[in-house]
């Protein structure tokens, strides 16, 4: 079966700079596809194009066979693409549960029904509880999100993605700034999410990447220099030279 999300020749130029150059990849349900590379390799730009935050200069994005290249971000989110950000992006003033409930509300918005309270929305409430349960945050559901620990905030952001019931998860450095224990918890969570989601993981923690990913794509200066399973990537001479010394590559 072909991938749930397919990316063909995606390119993004910012003026003269080519941030992402002719990148093609595939995301499958049941797989974590990690994208690694040095800072400025174009990983975040790639995620931003997939989630619809910025438009590609060239290339196509397919979701379950449908061309979604022109769809706006909100539409893509409703189509089942959830994402987390490199910088934690939550609602710090709201409780953890309201963070998730509000995210889930996108699927049943009914903005005109001003006489109904938001809290009475059964569907978004259930989705929020399920997402908190899945991420192990149930006990913190009443806590104001801004007061949670860094690790719990990162988890909450994943929970907010899950509350929208996505098929594709685009995770931008979910392990950034986490301690060993928090990292472990997040990796366990990702393992659990894997069977039902197609996951794109941008991450700097190589141990974590090689442990959890089925497929790894290596980007340098906006281009893919290698893509394959962890074993192949580990022994790829180009990847080794890119990571060992920039001068050899140039």
């Amino acid at each position: 079966m072909s991938g749930l999300m397919q990316v063909h020749g995606l390119t993004r130029r910012f003026g003269g700079l080519v941030a992402v150059n002719d990148v093609s990849l595939e995301l499958n349900v049941g797989e974590v596809h990690a994208v690694i590379g040095t800072n400025g390799a174009g990983k975040s730009t790639l995620i931003n194009m997939l989630s619809g935050e910025i438009a590609p200069s060239q290339g196509r994005i397919l979701l379950a066979g449908a061309d979604i290249t022109q769809r706006p971000q909100a539409r893509r989110a409703l189509d089942g693409i959830g994402r987390s950000y490199q910088r934690t992006t939550i609602f710090p003033e709201f409780t953890a549960r309201e963070n998730c409930r509000l995210a889930a509300q996108a699927a049943s918005p009914r903005p005109w029904a001003f006489w109904q309270t938001a809290q009475a929305c059964q569907r978004s409430g259930d989705a929020a509880d399920a997402a908190l349960e899945a991420t192990g945050l149930s006990t913190l559901s009443a806590r104001v999100a801004g007061t949670l620990s860094h690790g719990a905030k990162r988890q909450l952001e994943v929970a907010m993605c899950l509350a929208t019931q996505p098929r594709v998860l685009l995770l931008d450095e979910p392990l950034a700034g986490m301690g060993a224990e928090e990292t472990e918890r997040m990796l366990t969570l990702l393992e659990r999410l894997k069977p039902r989601h197609a996951v794109l993981l941008v991450e700097h923690d190589m141990d974590a990447v090689f442990r959890i990913a089925e497929r790894i794509t290596v980007m340098v200066n906006g281009s893919v220099i290698a893509s394959g399973n962890p074993h192949a990537i580990r022994h790829d001479p180009q990847v080794r030279s890119a990571y060992l010394g920039e001068e050899e590559l140039a």
Binding site: E93, A104, Q105, M160
Partner: protein
């Protein structure tokens, strides 16, 4: 697990709004309704003035406090509502409800046009664009003969609908009170609805709202139009009360004043807007009265400015913050 009981409480602020003091607005409403029988002359006029400004401030609260959109051109919808009330009245006056609908409709339409364009910008650019559109409306009324130019224009006969004749001052009082109750009630409902929850989300983190699947532009535009219509309602009431409108209603001073009311009272709280309208009007009234401040009354702008600086410095969360602080201590 007790998640279901906790679910009703979204934020500490929400708990405050819907907790022990939810009856307060109703109490104020009843008090105002009773006061209508007793008050006459200047006190009655002052209460009417404050109520109208409270409607105006509430309409801006929907944008500033609930959605995080700082508009510095809110007087435009206020003025458009007022002008339409006068321009649509015939020689023999017009029907209160028809004119009211026309006023609010015109203000909403103008807000739709301005919002559709200005909401494509953000931050300080949004502030500037809303200001620019308001100034444009101001100069249209000021420099063309459309509404009597800079002198403004008089109503021949005030709007009426059967016994609801705005020539009668106590009718004005109760119509304004009903309009205030309507505005407050509508916004209170919106605030707890899914629409309101989405607006709060946009205020706190618009990026996350889009990532979750909300078309935030549509939400913001809807809020902008509702706020415009409610400002138009306040404008209509001013026109019907005074029987006179002039371009100053649309000037940026008025936009600034209503923004000050919201900030003074407390952003994000409906009560804050009402409180801000009360405080601002009373301050202005006191500081411009010889009997209270002597010769300083001639320089009320200066003393008002100083008073507001003092207020904002001491009460960063507005007057409503004062009430909350007291509550927390208990």
């Amino acid at each position: 697990m007790n998640t279901t009981t906790l679910s009703v409480q979204t934020t500490p602020a929400a708990r405050h709004r819907w907790g022990a003091t939810a009856w307060l607005p109703l109490l104020v409403l009843v008090a105002l309704a009773l006061a209508g029988f007793l008050l006459q002359g200047y006190p009655a006029d002052l209460v009417v003035k404050i109520m109208v400004l409270a409607i105006f401030a509430l309409s801006l609260q929907l944008l500033v406090g609930m959605t995080g959109l700082v508009s510095l051109g809110h007087a435009a919808y206020f003025g458009v509502g007022a002008y339409v009330a006068v321009l649509a009245s015939g020689e023999a006056g017009g029907n209160l409800f028809v004119l009211l609908a026309l006023s609010m409709g015109a203000a909403a339409l103008y807000a739709l046009a301005v919002g559709a364009l200005s909401l494509r910008t953000r931050g300080v650019y949004f502030i500037m664009v809303t200001l620019a559109f308001a100034q444009m409306a101001y100069f249209i009324f000021h420099d063309t003969s459309l509404g009597g130019g800079s002198d403004g224009i008089y109503l021949n006969v005030r709007p009426a609908a059967g016994p609801l004749d705005m020539e009668n001052r106590s009718v004005v009082y109760y119509v304004v009170l009903a309009a205030l109750a309507f505005t407050y009630g509508l916004l209170a409902l919106i605030q707890r609805s899914r629409f309101g929850a989405a607006l709060a989300g946009i205020r706190v983190n618009e990026q996350r709202m889009r990532a979750a699947g909300f078309s935030t532009y549509g939400y913001k535009l809807a809020a902008f139009v509702i706020a415009g219509a409610l400002a138009g309602l306040a404008g209509f009431l001013v026109a019907a009360r005074d029987g006179f409108v002039n371009p100053e209603m649309l000037s940026w001073h008025i936009s600034g004043e209503v923004l000050l009311m919201v900030i003074l009272g407390g952003m994000g709280h409906l009560r804050g807007a009402v409180l801000g309208a009360v405080a601002f009007t009373l301050l202005k009234e006191v500081l411009a009265t010889q009997a209270f401040v002597g010769p300083l009354a001639n320089h009320w702008q200066l003393t008002l400015g100083l008073a507001i600086i003092l207020f904002v410095a001491l009460l960063p969360k507005g007057l409503i913050g004062l009430a909350q602080r007291r509550k927390e201590k208990q």
